[in-house]
């Protein structure tokens, strides 16, 4: 079983690295999807079926679309090379080190403290019903707060992405086809 774990971990790490290295944003996004599939596989390996399948539905089915949409809509030329930061200034180095430190400070103790299990244990035998009861019972407040936060962020995204209002729209009809159109009164 540790073989399966190694294979899945390898898939995750390789695809994630490839996604970082790839110059083609679409390739990166698709590789990232593979990483998520690998993560879902890890959950399955650990016996958390529900989380694994949810991961696949939400990330592979939903988030990947959003990422691809964002890539397609923001890049003018889909093959133009990534603009790499020309030189690393002192400020950038400091910021990078600080970020690295904070992430490491969070992750390393967790990894050190956690006992490294080589094999999926018996696993919590959570049925879906039990998950529902937990979410609607003890963790209800957390679910509600997360829901509110997501709603707020959605509304914010909508506000940012809202189309330009009608008066900003150009008048197509005055565009330069040049024909004398007379007075165009719509009959209706």
């Amino acid at each position: 079983m540790s073989l399966a774990f190694l294979a899945l971990a390898l898939v995750c790490v390789v695809t994630a690295s490839a996604a970082m290295i790839s110059r083609n944003l679409i390739h990166s996004a698709l590789l990232l999807v593979l990483t998520w599939i690998g993560l879902a596989g890890l959950y399955l390996w650990a016996g958390a079926d529900f989380v694994g399948f949810s991961q696949a539905i939400v990330y592979v089915g939903g988030v990947s679309m959003v990422v691809l949409f964002a890539v397609l809509l923001t890049r003018r030329q889909r093959d133009e090379p990534l603009v790499l930061i020309p030189e690393a200034g002192v400020g950038r180095v400091v910021a990078g080190l600080a970020a690295t430190f904070w992430v490491a400070a969070l992750l390393v103790p967790a990894m050190v403290v956690a006992p490294l299990v080589q094999r999926a244990g018996p696993g919590p035998t959570l049925t879906v019903k039990r998950i529902g009861e937990l979410l609607a019972g003890p963790h209800l407040v957390a679910v509600l707060v997360v829901g509110v936060i997501l709603t707020v962020s959605l509304i914010g995204a909508l506000y940012l992405a809202a189309p330009v209002t009608a008066e900003d729209q150009p008048e197509w009809d005055n565009g330069g086809t040049g024909r004398d159109r007379g007075n165009q009164e719509e009959p209706s």
Binding site: D173, G175, G176, T177, D180, G182, E186, P187
Partner: protein, 401 residues
């Protein structure tokens, strides 16, 4: 449409500019609504499932919205008008079949009227009625096909088209038994018609007319009230009446925009003044109106056919004094026009007294109606552009000549 200003600087937003040989300068492309995204330029056609032949639309898209559209045609150009100058008057008659190859009977008729005016010929009464019968059958045929094609463009997987073609075949069978050819009828002659329809043929027409009403009911039941059809076509491709008149649009397209102009009423050619029919008019000028006006016109055609069949007099169908071969009209000019299924189909002829016309010019309805395409499509999506083109009802044989 044809005045793309080469001096205007191409917008920086459009990266690739079409070869100028096609006359397409995406100048003055308005900035896309909403501000974001770059423009995508697509050449729809000449090989595209729904450009109705070798027609091409260069569209500039913002997302899926058309911000610029340039019709490109000429792929089917075959020098029709120049050929007419080198051919005798009668020799041009079969060529007119090839203009709008769905409606050869009305093309023949318009050309015959032009020559008859030029040569001062008269047409026997029976021939006039036969011409009305054939013209109205052609109208049924054309409008049925158009409705089928339009539904095909809307994305119906062939079902309405097949139903339409079933009826079209029946009409083509009638044409074949009368003229010897299904589509290239070459039937009209100067001063009448080529062959006299037999009583059996007239009975077959009466039978077809009787079953056409139920067919239209079936067709309409299937489509006219369909929510998707209404959602796709209502409010799409509005043609304002003023623009329609200024652009010279004729036929059902003009009437759908609210202008009740029908040459059958205006000119009163043939025996139309003696027949009783109405001219349906739309109020919105959108694709749905263009479809519905044609359906209503078909219903009027059925009534016209009934009246013409009932009133058909005896006698010859061809003026025996009218010269066909070697016709040399005296010098002069004439313009003959009729209300074809697609609009005003007209032939302008100048004679210098020889056996060939000095000038032969066609006024094709499809071509003129097509000029408003860009105005109709701007602001709509590609999917709409396709059905707007379908609702204009073009035949490339006529557009390109």
């Amino acid at each position: 449409m044809f005045d793309a200003n080469p001096a205007a600087s191409p917008s920086a937003r459009v990266r690739k500019v079409e070869p100028s040989s096609f006359g397409f300068q995406p100048s003055s492309v308005p900035p896309p609504a909403g501000g974001g995204g770059d423009l995508l330029e697509i050449s729809l056609g000449p090989h595209h499932p729904s450009t109705h032949g070798v027609f091409r639309m260069n569209v500039v898209l913002d997302g899926e919205t058309v911000v610029r559209l340039k019709p490109v045609f000429g792929y089917l150009h075959r020098n029709h008008e120049k050929l007419g100058e080198g051919t005798s008057y009668l020799g041009s008659m079969p060529y007119t079949d090839r203009l709008d190859y769905l409606n050869s009977m009305t093309n023949n008729w318009a050309y015959a009227i032009a020559v008859e005016k030029l040569a001062g010929l008269t047409v026997p009464e029976r021939a006039e009625y036969v011409r009305v019968i054939l013209a109205e059958l052609t109208r049924l045929l054309n409008h049925t096909c158009l409705a089928g094609f339009l539904m095909q463009d809307c994305g119906c997987s062939g079902t309405p088209l097949m139903y339409a073609f079933r009826e079209r075949e029946r009409i083509l069978d009638l044409f074949e038994s009368l003229s010897g050819s299904r589509m290239m009828c070459n039937y009209q002659r100067f001063g009448g018609c080529r062959v006299d329809p037999t009583p059996a043929w007239l009975a077959a027409v009466a039978q077809l007319v009787d079953r056409y009403g139920p067919f239209l009911d079936e067709f309409e039941e299937l489509l006219t009230g369909n929510e998707i059809i209404m959602a796709r076509t209502q409010g799409v491709g509005r043609l304002p009446a003023a623009l329609a008149v200024n652009a010279g649009v004729t036929g059902p397209m003009l009437r759908a925009s609210g202008v009740g102009h029908d040459l059958r009423k205006v000119d009163g050619y043939g025996v139309y003044p003696r027949l009783n029919f109405r001219v349906p008019v739309g109020d919105h000028g959108d694709v749905y109106d263009r479809y519905m006006v044609r359906v209503l016109e078909m219903r009027e055609s059925i009534s016209l056919l009934r009246q013409a069949l009932a009133a058909l007099p005896g006698g010859p169908v061809l003026d025996p004094k009218a010269k066909q071969r070697g016709l040399r009209p005296k010098a002069g000019e004439a313009y003959g026009r009729i209300e074809g299924p697609k609009g005003e189909i007209g032939f302008y002829l100048v004679s210098d007294g020889t056996a060939n016309p000095y000038r032969y010019r066609v006024r094709p309805p499809s071509f003129v109606n097509l000029t408003v395409l860009e105005d109709l499509c701007l602001g709509h999506t590609v999917a709409d552009a396709v059905i707007i083109l379908g609702s204009i009802d073009i035949v490339l044989g006529e557009v390109d000549r």
